[in-house]
Symmetry: C2
Subunit: 345 residues, 2 copies
């Protein structure tokens, strides 16, 4: 048993790697939401001056990375790894962006859990002494995701009340072994999730599919570290939306590890005003937690407003092919425990 493991699923990071850079670039609709003013940039339309939706998503991805490096005052050639992914087949957003960056690239696929997955892995590489600067990035785009996963936009299909809206956005985080100019947070523990599947088959109700995976990982974190929800200022899930958010509250109650509604929220609920923006169950897509975490919550951690925060992005791991073949939706969630860099704050 390695000395950095706690219990079954949790890993302790003795060096507490620093987050020293962050950026979030989002689409117009996301810019009109309640967090709009906090993002580094809101693009004018879904094309962002490009010739295809896919190139537009890649341009968001690269802008998030450039902005992150600029804010941290770090040159691209100091980066030892880009850990990244997105929702598209063969993760072409991240792969083509990595071509432009020319830094060693580790491609990830975790659906909407990608931001947590990359932060968890990146923090371990820094903690293990294998890298001093690791860049983590994730994105999604409403138009590329609809075309690939559902229907071409021109088809004009109706959305069900449980459906979530794929966020157009990209987020980037820079992890470092040293505090840099403006440390935003430190990564102290990680619980990587198992794939959980309770048999939900409705690809328009991913919140319900993902909530059990979120509960599984959160219970593992609490059990392994002997903590409860009270030990964290905020638990922030990524993209359960309204349906999954309410289901997670219920599941944690049933597991005897209740969450406090005042200190639990979901990125998919925060990014849109569901009523005035007609967003049904809320936002989704790996760009959702990437943008909300990097644009809104990391700066609050830097200010000491949240001393201990859990980011737990969740992913639904089905494909259109597996859905057509009648398979249910396997899901996953990875929990990242962050502390404010302000000692004693």
């Amino acid at each position: 048993m390695s000395n950095k493991r706690i219990g079954m699923q949790t890993i302790n990071l003795p060096s507490k790697p620093y987050i020293i850079g962050n950026a979030a670039i989002v689409g117009k609709k996301e810019g009109e939401g309640p967090l709009g003013e906090h993002f580094d940039k809101v693009i004018e339309d879904e094309m962002n001056g490009q010739e295809s939706f896919e190139l537009a998503e890649k341009s968001l991805y690269l802008e998030a990375i450039d902005t992150c490096l600029q804010k941290a005052g770090i040159q691209a050639d100091s980066i030892q790894f880009l850990l990244g992914g997105d929702l598209l087949n063969q993760i072409i957003t991240a792969s083509y962006a990595a071509r432009d960056l020319a830094v060693p690239f580790i491609g990830l696929y975790g659906a909407c859990s990608t931001m947590s997955e990359s932060l968890g892995l990146g923090s371990m590489l820094v903690d293990g002494g294998h890298a001093s600067h690791v860049l983590c990035a994730a994105s999604s785009h409403f138009c590329t995701a609809e075309r690939q996963y559902r229907f071409p936009l021109e088809f004009g299909s109706q959305r069900t009340p449980t459906a979530q809206w794929t966020v157009t956005g990209a987020g980037a985080t820079l992890i470092s072994s040293a505090p840099g100019r403006h440390p935003l947070a430190r990564v102290v523990q990680i619980s990587f999730g198992r794939v959980v599947d309770l048999g939900i088959k409705d690809a328009n109700n991913m919140g319900a599919a993902m909530a059990p995976a979120a509960a599984d990982t959160l219970c593992a974190l609490f059990r392994d570290t002997k903590t409860t929800a009270k030990d964290y200022d905020l638990i922030l899930t990524g993209d359960l939306g309204k349906v999954g958010h309410d289901l997670l509250l219920k599941l944690m109650q049933e597991h005897g590890m209740p969450l406090d509604d005042q200190h639990y929220t979901d990125c998919g609920l925060e990014i849109f005003d569901r009523e005035s923006q007609d967003m049904h169950a809320g936002g989704s897509g790996c760009g959702c937690s990437a943008a909300v975490f990097n644009g809104f919550y990391l700066p609050l951690m830097a200010q000491g407003k949240y001393r201990r925060l859990v980011l737990m992005a969740t992913g639904a791991l089905m494909s259109p092919t597996s859905s057509q073949q009648g398979e249910s939706i396997p899901s996953i969630a990875h929990a990242i425990v962050l502390e404010t860099p302000k000692e004693g704050a």
Copy 2:
């Protein structure tokens, strides 16, 4: 700069993590090739008793993992991470296999470079003290890949002479902090690759697209570690095939770091008899390097036949969508330096 880095792209693993388990399960055609007798199992037909090609691929994946654990004498609940991927959209083979295994899962996408990508990451997690047992696995299946990337098999399309044949196969490797019962090899260094793209657009000539990425990573390894091809008993690329193999020899010559044809080969050349099996440029697919490395070369390392070996699986990171949009093929290669566990052998 972290103390485990050498030069720009290479990472030293002071603890030299052990490979203590290996397995390779392949399809009928692969079983009829020159390495057929070395694989742990050859399945009888492409369905392997399942209802779809996709379920067949998943069954290969799980069989490779089960066989690997059994041979190593390790229970599944001792595994702290499964690092895995495959070629299918949303890596459904690995994701659905991970659902059955119920161990923490880190999903990767590196196209045909996945076996190297998982071994590199897994070795760092063990070296960093974050895990004592990590399972790495990759697969591909001719029928699922043809359907997704090219044409449905029923279409009966012709293949070009430069085309490679996607291997039906899965490989699994178990990395550990301790030597276990039968250590097969040790992982001593890793060079993660950058995404390289010299403008090749022909998805039926992936060897030509990937060779420049292979050259880029191999030059980085040689430069960072001040070694030449002579310092390794074998350099084993993954899935360049005949075209890419010959191109890599040429590129390395041009870079002034020539390879020795006697100590360089490619998994895509080894797995089939290209003449009698009518295999055009050779094998490809992440199952190719996964099966050849685990089934054939790891046992030879355990015997001390190869004292120092470089496994460098290569991946072509395009998607059908990016090809349709006129994009060229970005490629990547990750190099893993392995030593025999037999000291002084």
